[in-house]
Amino acid sequence: MNHSLNYLLRRLGFYFIAAWAALTLNFFIPRLMPGDPAAIIFARFRGKLKPEAMNALRETFGLTDEPLLGQYWSYLKSILQGDLGISIAYFPEPVTSIISSALLWTIFLAGFSLIISFSLGTLLGTIIAWNRSGKLDSFLPPALAFIGAFPYFWLAMVALYIFGFELSWFPLGHAYGNDVTPGFNIPFILSALYHAALPALTMILVSLGGWMLSMRNIMITTLGTDYIAFAHAKGLSSRLIMLRYAARNAILPNFTGFGMALGFVLSGALLTEIIFSYPGQGYLLLQAVRAQDFPLMQGLFMTITFAVLAANWIVDILILFFDPRTRK
């Protein structure tokens, strides 16, 4: 147990370093760009912003006459106090309050599709590795690899065009209908699920192949090991060998991949949300890019990074439970 605790603390330390690196990048990127960041922003917004917005902007970036190190310290301090600055596009709303409502929608949509795609892909990978000469194995991998070749958001565009626009099976956007009141009630939940269905389906479709192929490959290696041959020799049922003996071990690298995939899925989800006008982080990101709302963009980068780091740590804890080798 001591060993596990040690491991978790070491991982936590790593995530703190990663978070610090992200914070530092976030601080230095505007300052390393050619020219003076304040001048760049002010030139872009001349005449469009009220003087108080300009001042808020100056404060957000800490673009005071302090030396760089002093600016860096006050920046770190304000981030630790949960202050990500003030948005330009939604002035004078603070960035944190804009992001927090959108974050829930993104976690709902991306988490939902990630879990479905992971479970389904892993299961399919197990099955096709087991029946390696079956019809499923010669059809699914190339088909999903082909689908995976499309850009995430482009597939979403086509799906929206066919199923939303032409066939009207699914809504054209937003997270829930106009006729329901947000809250913990059944019409709202049903409406939210209905609105999430098509974006989630496109994301599942594109990411399914990756899970399936990696599970298939590890499964094939596992099936070649001696303990599987021994299990066959003992006369165990093939179902038992497939699930309890082979898949249970083969799934471990996939679990590690789960944490890594979070970053990719969140990134992909951002673009999918834009297509479906889904009011999550991605939609905000688009607004931020269009309005050149730098504080909002950087705030989004920070929250998504923190979300990914936290999720990775949870995966680390889960792996401790699933893989006895990690807790000696």
């Binding site: 990663a18 990048l25 760009m33 499309f150 565009m157 070649g224 890594m260 969140l266 963009m297």
Partner: protein, 309 residues
Amino acid sequence: MSYIHNSILSRWITGIIQNRKAVTGVVIILLFIFIGIFGPFITQDPTAFLSTPLSPPSWEHWLGTNGQGQDVLAQTISGARQTLLVGFTTGIMVVLIGALIGGISGYYGGRIDDLLSLLINVFLVMPGLPLMVILASWLPPGPGTLTGVLVLTGWAWNARVIRSQMMTFRSRDFVSAAIVSGERNIRIIVIEIMPRMLSLLASSFIGASIYAIGAQVGLEFLGLGDVSTITWGTNLYWASNDMALLTGSWWTFVPTGLSIAIVSFALTLINFGIDEVTNPRLISERVWRENIPTNKAINGITPVVKDHE
């Protein structure tokens, strides 16, 4: 040594030439490169206003016109040039940086490895797209910015793969022999080890190019590229800006999307081919299947099906 080495290389090359997947992929990629180089000289002017905006495919405009009344076919063809150029340039740079950092990290080990692995892992865990967005929004838009941003967010994955491969080579006898005979570390890495990683480097390059094309299109779709140039990404940006979806003008985004998908899929096919030709486990499986029943001798290949670690 060099004799063996050459024969492996020539076996790979003949293997790839005979591999149907790889050849299909290579032909498609060459076709697109050809289109990217010479296509713009043949087509109509992609920036000219030619016909009613958003008119469907017709004889004058095979793929219709976009929201600016420009010819979609011409736009798709001229979009190939910059998209592929940025994609492949990024691919090369990602592999070079990955080989440099991953190689040094895996070869030297110890403190250097600790430090570089930390750097690699930090970049791996940071979500790519939001980072690309803030970088791209601060820098002046253009192909140079795109390449730089894509390289910065994409090198870590390759570095990690190359690092672990380097670590297995580091413990091989031929490396120990080279160290004992007094060769310099740089020489060992570049002359002795890197050529043996050729298949890994090639498939890393292809993987990185697939990533670069996809991510670049995504960034440009967000409006972070130079929207006045014609690339596949800006084509999609304008399609979405001109309400292509709500007006049902599928021809403004389908050709570009299909081109991207075909290029990525062709690159994936090449990677499958390289894997089939150079992966010992797949080679041995194929060799078993082909040769065991007829009991033919196998020239120099030891069949390896199981993993004995």
